[in-house]
């Protein structure tokens, strides 16, 4: 067992070919999933990426404060409303000027799924050649834990609090990754921090696929502070999210979905929710609603991957690569 574990670890380290451009101590909460992801990306993709970010938890570290920066990457700190449009502006000018580039548009779920979804959708339509990474912590954490479109059913936030009438979010979460895959962009994938080799592979695939156009990575990144979890449990939360199919790992090339990890005997979603206080109040019936949602989404994903394998990929998708 120990040997096998060592083997896995070595495999991840093999992908870390570049320096960590971030300062050793940065202003994130203990156990922050975002920090781990943020440090991981340039170590895999290189320090010559241009990273764009918006007001969010990532902002103070990613965008710098006052005259100081927490890292040595080229970056563009911008607006939540136009994140994908900003990345578009960069890659289009670099292309016109003949400058090699890897632009990573790095945003939370609030920007990606909610306020900035219009321009994310536009960038997908135009097949813009950059990598959009959404770190999904299922809410607006920086402003103090408010509900977003990816906050799951039942979860309490400061705008979906537990009250005597309304008990947490009474709406299902949106499936951002699947929404993007349906655009048949060159590469879409989900990933999380318990499966770093999977994440590293997907980052490298995206770097290669962005030569053909738009790439989208949906990364599940827990927020212990906002979710009421032990900071030591961040990776365990990710692991259980995968093992319960709450957050399945898959990729899609030109929209064709393929599971990158299949869970033979998925655990009940209750084994995932029990790690976080935001689900504390949920009754068995509430958990059943969430379980049904997870099962339905997973079934749909499986169904799509089978259906797509049977369907002929149209030339318009195969040949895409030229932006409008």
């Amino acid at each position: 067992m120990a040997e096998k574990k060592q083997g896995r670890l070595t495999k991840v380290l093999d992908y870390l070919k570049h320096d960590d451009p971030f300062s050793k101590g940065v202003a994130f909460c203990p156990g922050c999933g975002l920090e781990l992801l943020l440090r991981f990306i340039p170590r895999v993709l290189g320090n010559d990426i241009v990273i764009t970010g918006t007001p969010s938890c990532s902002a103070p570290v990613l965008l710098g404060q006052n005259n100081q920066s927490w890292h040595t990457l080229s970056y563009f700190g911008t607006l939540m409303t136009g994140a994908a449009a900003n990345a578009t502006g960069l890659v289009r000018y670099y292309r016109k000027a003949g400058i090699d580039n890897t632009v990573v548009c790095f945003n939370g779920d609030g920007t990606a799924n909610d306020i900035g979804f219009g321009n994310l959708s536009g960038a997908a339509e135009r097949n813009e050649p950059f990598i959009y990474i959404c770190y999904d912590n299922e809410g607006y954490m920086n402003t103090g834990i408010q509900k977003s479109g990816t906050t799951p059913y039942g979860a309490t936030t400061t705008t979906t609090p537990y009250g005597s009438v309304h008990k947490g979010k009474n709406l299902r979460r949106m499936n951002l990754g699947l929404k993007m895959a349906m655009n048949k962009i060159p590469y879409t994938a989900t990933a999380t921090l318990s499966d770093l080799d999977d994440l590293a592979k997907k980052l490298l695939k995206a770097k290669e696929a962005k030569e053909r156009g738009f790439c989208f990575l949906h990364v599940f990144a827990p927020c212990p502070t906002g979710w009421g979890a032990d900071p030591a449990d961040t990776i365990e939360i990710c692991r259980r999210a995968v093992k319960t199919n709450y957050f399945p790992l898959w990729e899609a090339e030109n929209g064709r979905i393929r599971m990158t990890k299949t869970v033979k005997k998925p655990k009940s979603v209750g084994t995932y929710t029990e790690l976080m206080k935001k689900f504390n109040h949920m009754t068995e019936d509430d958990i059943k609603i969430l379980q049904d949602d997870v099962d339905y989404e997973y079934c749909l994903l499986g169904g799509l991957s089978v259906l797509e394998a049977e369907c002929q990929l149209p030339v318009s998708v195969k040949d895409q690569g030229e932006t409008s």
Partner: protein, 407 residues
Amino acid sequence: MNTTATPSRIKVITGNAAAAIAAKLARPDVVAAYPITPQTEVIEQISTFYASGEMDCELITVEGENSAMNVVMAASLAGGRVFTASSSWGLVFMYDAVLAVAGARAPVVMVNVNRETPGIIAVSSGQQDMISTRDAGWIFLIAEDCQEVLDLVLQAYRLAEDYDIQLPVMVHYDGFFLSYLSEGVDIPEQKTVDQFLSVLKTQPKRTVLHPGEKLGVGSHGILGGYMELRHKHVTAMERSKAKFEEIDKEFADIFGRSYGGQVEEYRTDDADMVLVGSGSMCGTIKAVIDEQREKGVRIGLVKIRMYRPFPHKALVAALKGKKAIGVVDRSLAFGFDGGPIYTELKAFETRMDGAKLISFIDGIANTDITKTNVEKMIQMTGDLADGKDVPEVTWVSYPDANTKGEK
């Protein structure tokens, strides 16, 4: 406007076409835009130039104005020459990025085809969109006719990208009146425009955002440096006034057309009274002034060409010592007795050696500022000069406002 050089190519085109042709002549690297009445023709023309290969740029037909401004902001900060165009609701929809562009000192050039913006979906003329965004930190220029649209867009690039300025420039022209009006426009040759813009290449290179250069834009500047940046923004805006005058002179040497810089004065030298206006109304006002001069009325026009930064020194110099000044606004300022430009000019009244000011509101919601209307304004300004009792504000095309309006 004085024309001295030989015309190169005169074509009868709309203001929108003039804007598109000017953009083409400036050879931008990146153009992003979204359609909106009355601007749409600008991006249609640019798309046609792009499709035919006449324009070698990255053209991004975005999914909304907000993205248009965000695209050109980033492309500009990366080092590109950029262009976009919008109007009214579109300008408002991109407003967060409009502010960000100014703060980042990105030399973006755009045209805004003025249109009303109240909640009654007014597809009609007016400068309310310009007024509502006036303190975004952009340089605002206003064109009177189709020729000036073309000329101002070219001058805007010289101003925006100048190393000592580095500010975004918005060229405004009246929707419906100039956007769709066809008139003769002298279209300069490409090599002449290249020559005019080539000065920028001799200047030091501005800081740009490139891969691997360990450079960032958009820090959380909460404490140190923020006040300094804001002050530098103000001083750069001030510098742009003299720079605009310089560029106008240089433009005249190359293209043979001069407009006078921040303000254009028309028959003001011996005038007792002056109308202050901006945009397309000025053509009508000039025509009426010529007629009134025949009758011995000593009236002139001061046309505002640069609206932000507010050219108060040039305005005071032009208006000082006149007996009466009528300011024509195509928009509203709530809580003030008078239009926005009138209200701003009032702040300098004490420097005008006793000149008295009155406000005219006209030309909003597709009402024409007709010759009759201008005659009425001149009559009232004359009455003011003669010491008669004249209301401070007059809605020229809406008499009810002057009789029933609440005070």
